[in-house]
Amino acid sequence: MGLLSHPITLVADWLRNLFLGWGLSQGLTTVLLYLIAAIVVASLANGWVIFLIWFERKIVGRMQDRIGPNRVGPYGLLQPFADLIKIITKEIIFPDKADKPLYVIAPLLMDAAIIAIWAVIPLVPMVGMDFNVAALYTIAVGAFATLGIILAGWSSNNKFALVSAFRTVAQMISYEVPTVLALLVPVLLAGTMSLQGIVEAQHVWYIVLAPLAFLIYFIASVAEVGRTPFDLLEAESEIVAGFHIEYSGMLFATFYVGDFLHAFTIGMLGAVLFLGGWRGPGAEAYPILGLIYLWIKAFVVYFVGVWVRGTLPRLRIDQMMNFCWKFLTPLALILLVEAAVVDRLLLGFTPWGRGLVHLAINVFIGALVIAYARAYDNRRKRERPLAAKPGQYPVARPPQPAAEAQSD
């Protein structure tokens, strides 16, 4: 029981003895300990956002052939602090027509919901909460973040914001389904909804057993966060800024922080459910190493999200809905059946044997689906060689000059 091997248990025991020594009751001590733990985890999450903002600006800047922040501090590392000081001293504007209680609640709800997800993430082995419905809890609480966006769009009493809120509803109700279905696969493979239990069951990472489920989870989650290519809810060129158009000062910053934290939390959940969480060499003996492993894995997933954001253009809304309902959802259902049936047939196999059979079948399904999508795309292209038939798409087109129309 050295300081290195069990620092968290050690600190917790020390604090418990300290509080008991002050003459506090057993129950109050527990409450105080939980309060301290919650504050530490929430601070960790919020503090990390400061780094994420710098990182994302830098990386997206590089991808767009810019330098990104580089003036304040070494490599521009202090830029987020400067921004924080600036934005915290800005005026918070309350529009006259806004529904003021809801207008204030909306960003708080969004941020609080995302911080609340961190309550069930198993940061280190053996320590922390073993919450038996954690997987369902993350979905339930995560949905509140979207609710905050809808509230913001509606309560601003601004037409751009309202359009954004409606788009958010469409996006949320659609991409919730593949997310939930994809999350069912690791729950089924581990036989528990506790995230700690799912991590412990991953002798072979579930990304080997269910790579397609991970992909679906990742895509649908990016859509839930509302990042490019699914950022229709804040499309600058169409609806100015969408739901946060009327927000300023710290109320806006709360949305901003919530967005970054949500993106990283998605990475965190992906790492826990599919990449083995805190698993890694030596993590059992030194729990603090587990935290580092988890952090690195979550960061990799987050980085891929930033990469996608820097690479892909925005989708049109009908493309987005079609992709969800006609591609991701059926595929997620097929994968669920595959996981249930194949895993039952592989009862006696070793973990790696089971993993490899699952992997082979997943690759096979993936190849089939891609071949089918290609064929469908080619057929559609043959049927409609030019996508410029007026009235075919919900896109406003300026009237064409008559001379040009004839020469076509």
Partner: protein
């Protein structure tokens, strides 16, 4: 029970964090509203008409399909948790349930409920 206590405390802390930041922002920031500033911002153009109008909810059918799926998935979670202990028959029954779900999806698809127009 302790788990739920922790969740309750965590929810409290989660609400406290952004609230504290916004309160600090309110205290440190200036408060000089004027009619132009607090007007609805629509790119400098005067806003016209009501905002909270009845909106064409073209994804009404999507909402219905979503509702069906979300509820059915809630039923699938206990099945997935109990999966290891279930006999083969029960597993296949769960698969049958998913196939029925898929049939519902295909029905909605063929009916054109999934077309965004």
């Amino acid at each position: 029970m302790n788990n739920w206590l922790y969740i309750a405390i965590f929810l409290f802390v989660a609400v406290l964090f952004p609230t504290a930041l916004v309160v600090v922002g309110l205290l440190l920031g200036p408060k000089r509203p004027n009619p132009i500033k607090t007007d609805t911002y629509e790119c400098g153009v005067q806003t016209w008409g009501e905002t909270w109008v009845q909106f064409k909810i073209q994804y009404y059918l999507f909402a219905l399909v979503f509702l069906v799926f979300d509820i059915e998935v809630a039923f699938l979670y206990p099945w997935a948790v109990a999966y290891k202990a279930l006999p083969l028959f029960a597993v296949l029954e769960g698969v049958l349930f998913i196939v029925l779900l898929t049939a519902a999806l295909i029905y909605a698809w063929r009916k054109g409920a999934l077309e965004w127009s």
